[in-house]
Symmetry: C2
Subunit: 132 residues, 2 copies
């Protein structure tokens, strides 16, 4: 990924009233949508500078270097912004193959069936083993 030298590209992003922007992380190779999170300006700047996904944790109220505890970092190959400049898309390589804190590859493991939401993806690693 190529990050610009100056910060004009960050000024062009439309931050919401909390100074955040939604971020979608997609497997660069398979196209699988792995997770959804939020970024503030610093998180997006750090993501572009370091080439690794940094989000803003709304629950913890601080920067969240994805993988800081689990080791499941995300190498960012490409950054995109949408037509309204208010959503970013990250094309990533998921280190360790697990994006979700439940130990599944993707956070989107619940599919709507006639019986309701059904978990249709396997747990690849016990979260107790991930967060020791």
């Amino acid at each position: 990924m190529s990050a610009p030298a100056n910060s004009q590209w960050l000024d062009e992003v439309l931050w919401d009233e909390q100074g955040l922007i939604p971020a979608i992380a997609q497997d660069a190779k398979t196209g699988e949508v792995l997770m959804f999170a939020w970024m503030n300006r610093e998180a997006l700047a750090l993501t572009a500078e370091t080439g690794h996904a940094v989000y803003w944790s709304r629950s913890r109220g601080r920067l969240w270097h994805k993988g800081e505890e689990s080791g499941h970092t995300q190498r960012v190959l490409e950054l995109r912004v949408d037509c309204d400049q208010d959503v970013v898309l990250l094309k990533i390589e998921q280190v360790g193959g697990i994006a979700c804190h439940t130990g599944r590859r993707s956070c989107f493991f619940n599919r709507l069936e006639t019986s309701g939401w059904q978990d249709v993806e396997p747990v690849l690693k016990d979260p107790k083993e991930i967060y020791k």
Copy 2:
């Protein structure tokens, strides 16, 4: 897509303080992320019932049957919700091949380069021809 007969699955969704949930629309075949929008409870219920994407337009403050003006409706093949139950993912077939109001296939056509955000996707149809 299979919609449940009762509405318990809608109660299991975590709506934000505005009663909305982020929705990601992804091409079911290619995996391409086509757009991002918001849904309220009624929009999500209608999407499941009709098999066509219905969003909540925050700017217009009303339901937005995707394609109502452009004809570029979205046939929903699968609905997923994430681990926190606060983001939905739609696997869709994009009727007309154009999801973006700019006439491009996807809304995510701006890629970050060293020179800043660069438009890297072709306009497939002039918006003046789409919204007549």
